[in-house]
């Protein structure tokens, strides 16, 4: 291989890895313009953001606490994308995962902890699996577009939760006090996840998520199942010709994707809230997609990506409080990052395609 080629090669590698970071930087620059227009000094604002997210133990633990569900959802999104389907239904799957886990833990609270804790997680996972599997099945059987169906199923999940939290699952203490705040009773302590740093919300779910990221990597690249998921995602026709049951793998990709989102919901109530509350999904079903894209749809890439994205969520929150910018700016900033990440990715792909123009 000629020398200049090797440099070209490594150059591509470096720009490939650096691009997400550049994208974030680009988004921050545009965000700075917005801040200037609001009459806020962008440097103070960003200093607040950075300090808030990473400046002290509290910031860091908050970042990691947020990164946990992002990573779990992100893993689910990776699987779906690799399998050639798009799962926008993370929110609904998280909600139902959390609802089922809570209901299970409360319902069987007398069971021993060593049994109850894994089964509670499993309950959430299974709920997500079903909720993701349905749109997958609809797509495989009837060609229903999974983007539309998952979005609609988010609504259904939301309403199911609304109904349950105001009816059958409403905390008896709330009824007794007559306050009727829509939330469930507290989960039995046996299913609470260990807090890794005292007096913070940071819990052991983070460790589980990282282990699962490695597991997903193995699943996708080291097993026959992952091989088939990727083959179907890249070329359904060739997979069909090779005798791979394509529709089964479409359902499987969606179901696995939903399972990870459902687990994220379960882990969130078990680790952070200790009960089912409204709004616990916190938009993770969507930001998880961004985290996955940010990590180049690679399960290991999703680990740093969700940490970065988590810090952004926490930091933006802090920034909002300390320099008094409207919360919508935070949302705008997130949107900008998505835009930059996706655009930079397209740019790289276009460029490398031009270089290696499609073979005939």
């Amino acid at each position: 291989m000629a020398a200049h080629e090797r440099t070209q090669f490594t150059l591509d590698r470096i720009t490939g890895a650096a691009l997400p970071v550049l994208a974030v930087a680009g988004a921050l620059v545009v965000g700075a313009l917005l801040l200037l227009m609001l009459g806020v000094n962008p440097f103070t604002a960003y200093a607040a953001l950075f300090n808030g997210a990473l400046g002290n133990v509290s910031g860091i633990t908050q970042t990691l606490t947020k990164a946990t569900p992002l990573l779990l959802v992100g893993l689910g999104i990776c699987i779906a994308f690799r399998g050639g389907v798009i799962n926008i239904g993370g929110e609904g799957q998280i909600i139902l995962g959390a609802v089922s886990a809570s209901a299970f833990a409360i319902g069987f609270s007398h069971w021993p902890g060593w049994l109850l804790l894994p089964l509670t997680m499993l309950a959430g996972t299974l709920a997500g699996l079903v909720w993701g599997g349905i749109p997958g099945w609809l797509k495989a059987r009837m060609g229903v577009n999974e983007i539309l169906s998952t979005v609609m199923m988010n609504q259904i999940a939301l309403q199911v939760m609304n109904f349950l939290l105001r009816g059958p699952m409403l905390d008896p203490a709330q009824i007794a006090a007559g306050t009727n705040i829509p939330q469930s009773a507290a989960l039995p302590e046996a299913v609470w996840l260990t807090r890794l740093v005292p007096r913070t919300l940071f819990h052991s779910g983070a460790i589980l998520a990282v282990i699962l990221a490695v597991a997903v990597y193995f699943l996708l690249w080291r097993t026959t199942i992952g091989y088939r998921i990727r083959a179907v995602g890249l070329n359904a026709a060739a997979s069909r010709y090779a005798g791979i049951p394509v529709s089964r793998y479409v359902v499987l990709s969606m179901a696995l994707s939903g399972a990870f989102c459902g687990l994220a919901g379960a882990v969130e109530v078990m680790g952070v809230h200790h009960r089912m509350i409204e709004g616990m999904s916190g938009g993770y079903g969507f930001s998880g997609i961004v985290a996955a894209l940010f990590g180049k749809l690679h399960p290991l890439g999703a680990i740093p990506a969700s940490a970065i994205f988590g810090s952004l969520l926490v930091g933006a929150d802090k920034m909002q409080r300390s320099v008094q910018v409207p919360s919508s700016l935070v949302v705008a900033l997130q949107g900008l990052i998505v835009l930059f990440v996706v655009a930079s990715d397209l740019y790289v792909r276009r460029r490398s395609r031009r270089r290696m123009e499609e073979r005939e």
Binding site: M1, T224, I244, E360
Partner: protein, 498 residues
Amino acid sequence: MRGIVKRFPGVLACDAVDFDIRRGEVHALLGENGAGKSTLMKILYGLYSHEEGTILLNGEPVSIRTPTDAIELGIGMIHQHFMLVDTLTVTENVALGLPSSRGPLLDLDRVAARIRELSETYRLDVNPDALVWTLAVGERQRVEIIKALYRGAALLILDEPTAVLTPQEVDDLFHILRRMTQDGHSLIFISHKLHEVLNISDRITVLREGKLMGTVPAQGMSRADLARMMVGRDVLLERNRSPVAQGSARLVLENVSALGVTGHESLRGVSLQIHAGEILGVAGVSGNGQRELAEVIAGLRAVTSGWVEMDGLDVTGQAAGERTQTGFAYIPEERMHDGVVREFSVSENLILQDHTRPPYSKGIFLDFAHIAQHSQELVRNFRVKTPGIETPTKSLSGGNIQKLILARELARLPKVLVAAQPTRGVDIGAMEYIHQRLLDQRETGTATLLISEDLDEVLALSDRIAVMYEGRVMDIVKREETSAEELGLLMAGVYPER
């Protein structure tokens, strides 16, 4: 083009190549798969950059960085895969991407008029109002030619234009090309079919492994001469078939009917048997049910009546996956699309069917050591030219992707093999090799269905030949007892008088 050098990771695709083309000539470019033909042409058309060398046009050095530059200089290229928008009309496709003479308003009438004019001059027989998806392959190709002519191409590059055409369509194309050269157009013609090259070209340039082997006048060359220049050794153009004792019927189709892609009945009551150690050739103009026949056997298309038996077992209701696992192999016609996952590496593509079996996996875990060993072996035995087994398949040359698929299917030692156009797009060296492998398989007792548009190939390899016409098997004849003439008549739906 002078001293053109182009490298890809791990390969030197063009090694100081000189190439020139004169006004009004057909210059053929020959070479084995991966010799660098397409690469050289893509450089000329601005799709690839080159590292060294210069391109001169009428004596002036020019810089061609994008296809737009090339088009402005009067260079056009017809890719093997057409770049047309299916849902638009011919006129709209031609006008696409061009400035309109009426500013922001479309000038489709004027475009259509010009298309008619061009179509008339070169007898292209293209209807400007036709929707592209309704056109056959040959017609689409002519639309591409019109597109290039409309953009003022004086030099036209045709990369394997005949690979997808029926023999009749090839003749038509050659008439068109001759008319174009009479008008002063220059043509670069790439093909692996030597008789075509000898028939149409004025001069021939041969590449081997990126190096220029020489440029010779077509006059006075023979197929054997060209083959030797390309491959560097003598190539057998004749096939040796030893007689093989035929066994029991391995593949039986009984009165099979099936619907085609369009929803019309495309197979009508087909019955045939192939025995162990036999090659049954299927001749016929493409589109007469061959594709459906192959898919029914593969389990990719449901039958509406009749049944399919493999090795005495009724497999009519079996899914494709089950059939592959019990000794069936299929080399699909649209291989680039249906045969490989282009983003996968070479070794990943080599286990597309068998990844769930030992030794390629244990339980659900892939066994990379065995996969690598198997891949190395196949790449070596089938002479697939690739920098390595981890190379993404899409960066292989067209013919080498074909070889990869053949390697995979033949190495599975199938009991029943369906091979659709197995040598389309491969070079003559590879064709010799593939034919030999098909004959070897036959000797080991494989029952082979060989679907090919190349009558010479069918006649060279088959024991018996079935001719298809409008979804029916017109007749099944013994190879020794038939002739190209008889087959030709049958292919046209006429029973010859005996």
